[in-house]
């Protein structure tokens, strides 16, 4: 039986990078980059990517009616939100003067701040948090399979996710503050880092996702 994955195309972001990385894993037969509800609902798995500002992302998600589609697929399909695609799943974001998000996972998206310092050394830290940082796996999860504890993934973001319920925390990272690098809840996984830009560890995570049945 052939497998399929839909990458939700709402005009924001690195869709081609995501699609190319999924393809490169060799773990999926069909990849659809689409905002056609029927195609997304028919796919075995769904990816919500995203880069840029949350207000624009949420604006396009709502304009294209993707909120309804996302609300439906998160009920049962293996689903991953990446970067702003993770942030969009939360309750709300501080970005753009406060933006309501999809509210699928409880928690807020917060700004690192322009004067971020390392509390241990008092050294100034740069924002955006850009580059390779370690992700501490907080739980055993099928998506961490074959990935070393504290492996480095590629991040680029100025806002971070702070979940209300710490039982959702799948991976954590520090940049001045500790934040959620990954969340997991039932068939939903979300990553602040970019697996498609995290070389072999990122490809491993996508391969794991493409084999995942959606059970934590």
């Amino acid at each position: 039986m052939s497998s399929s994955v839909a990458v939700i195309d709402y005009g924001m972001g690195n869709l081609h990078s995501v699609a190319k990385a999924l393809e490169h894993t060799g773990c999926v037969d069909k990849i659809f980059v689409t905002h056609d509800p029927a195609q997304i609902l028919a796919a075995d798995r769904v990816v919500l990517p995203g880069v840029g500002a949350i207000r624009d992302c949420m604006g396009e998600i709502l304009r294209l009616g993707m909120d309804q589609v996302i609300n439906e697929v998160v009920l049962n399909k293996p689903f991953i939100g990446v970067c702003v695609g993770m942030q969009a799943l939360m309750s709300s974001s501080e970005e753009n003067g406060g933006t309501a998000c999809l509210g699928i996972l409880p928690g807020e998206v917060r700004f690192f701040g322009d004067n971020l310092v390392d509390p241990d050394s008092d050294a100034a830290l740069k924002v955006p948090h850009m580059g390779w940082n370690q992700v501490h796996q907080e739980i055993d999860h099928p998506l961490w399979s074959g990935i070393e504890q504290d492996a480095r993934f590629y991040f680029v973001h100025s806002y971070y996710v702070s979940p209300t319920d710490s039982t959702y925390l799948a991976g954590s990272t520090r940049h001045g503050v500790a934040f959620a690098a990954a969340l997991a809840h039932e068939n939903i996984f979300a990553a602040q880092f970019h697996p498609e830009k995290s070389q072999h560890v990122g490809l491993q995570l996508y391969a794991n996702f493409l084999k995942w049945d959606g059970n934590g």
């Binding site: 990078s17 990385a21 100034a124 955006p128 850009m130 580059g131 390779w132 070389q199």
Partner: protein
């Protein structure tokens, strides 16, 4: 646990081939960009930057194909600079698989372009490239000015003020090249690097002048750069990226090994 300092090999690409000019004049052929990018990826490069030094817009299509080919095989961040003047140029490069674009001359002539680009595509993909040259005399307080056209044309813009302005306009990162040092192999202009790094809250990539691995270490420890960029020391096989990272790790710098 902390963010790693990055090592970024830079590939100057002309007509689909990687070349490296010494102070922008003597150009030597160094090979196929896809092959070289794959090698750097395998050696552990944290990102790869392509600088398109093609003269005509027809040949820009060649660069788009290079990016497409690299992006389908190399899964680390890719930046493309050179000839980015319009929103459409950015869109093409991002669609081809680039993660960031470097804006240089166009920012100087039209700063609003940086604002427009950051609003449209997000600051995370807008790198403003700054070419600076020391203009203060011996004994005077250090002052650097922005130059365009490969270091030939002065603009009257103060480098530190310019960097701050570009960050205000939405630059997510600054690629800082010392035109005094570029191609000299005597090391980064550390005073310039530190002055800019300390003046802005976004990451600064140090560039221009790397001749050995200690220069890379200095760029981070003394120049306060978040990332270091080099070309010829890697192209001609003098050092591997892995050796560079090991040297940085030995100096106590956090790197991705």
């Amino acid at each position: 646990m902390a963010l790693a300092k990055r090592i970024i090999p830079c590939l100057d690409v002309r007509d689909g081939r990687v070349v490296k000019g010494v102070q922008f004049v003597d150009i030597r052929d160094a090979g196929d960009p896809v092959e070289i990018a794959r090698r750097y990826d395998a050696e552990g490069a944290d990102e790869i930057t392509f600088l398109d030094i093609t003269a005509s817009s027809d040949d820009r299509e060649t660069m788009v194909h290079v990016v497409e080919q690299v992006a389908s095989q190399v899964f680390i961040p890719l930046t493309v600079g050179g000839g980015i003047r319009k929103v459409e140029d950015i869109r093409r490069m991002l669609n081809a698989g680039a993660d960031k674009v470097g804006i240089n001359t166009a920012a100087v002539f039209n700063p609003e372009f940086v604002k427009e680009a950051a609003e449209k595509f997000g600051s995370q993909c807008i790198v403003v490239a700054i070419d600076a040259k020391k203009v203060s005399a011996e004994g005077e307080k250090n002052r650097w000015e922005i130059f365009t056209h490969g270091g030939r044309k002065p603009t009257g813009l103060d480098a530190i003020e310019w960097a701050k302005k570009m960050v205000d306009y939405g630059a997510g990162e600054i690629l800082l090249t010392s035109m005094d040092r570029d191609g000299t192999k005597i090391g980064f202009d550390l005073e310039l690097t530190r002055a800019i790094s300390d003046a802005v809250h976004v990451p600064v990539i140090a560039s221009g002048g790397v001749g050995n691995l200690d220069h890379l270490v200095d760029g981070v420890t003394r120049g306060h750069a978040e990332a270091v960029l080099a070309a010829s020391i890697f192209h001609f096989g003098e050092y591997t990226i892995q050796e560079a990272k090991q040297r940085m790790a030995d100096a106590g710098i956090e790197v991705r090994l």
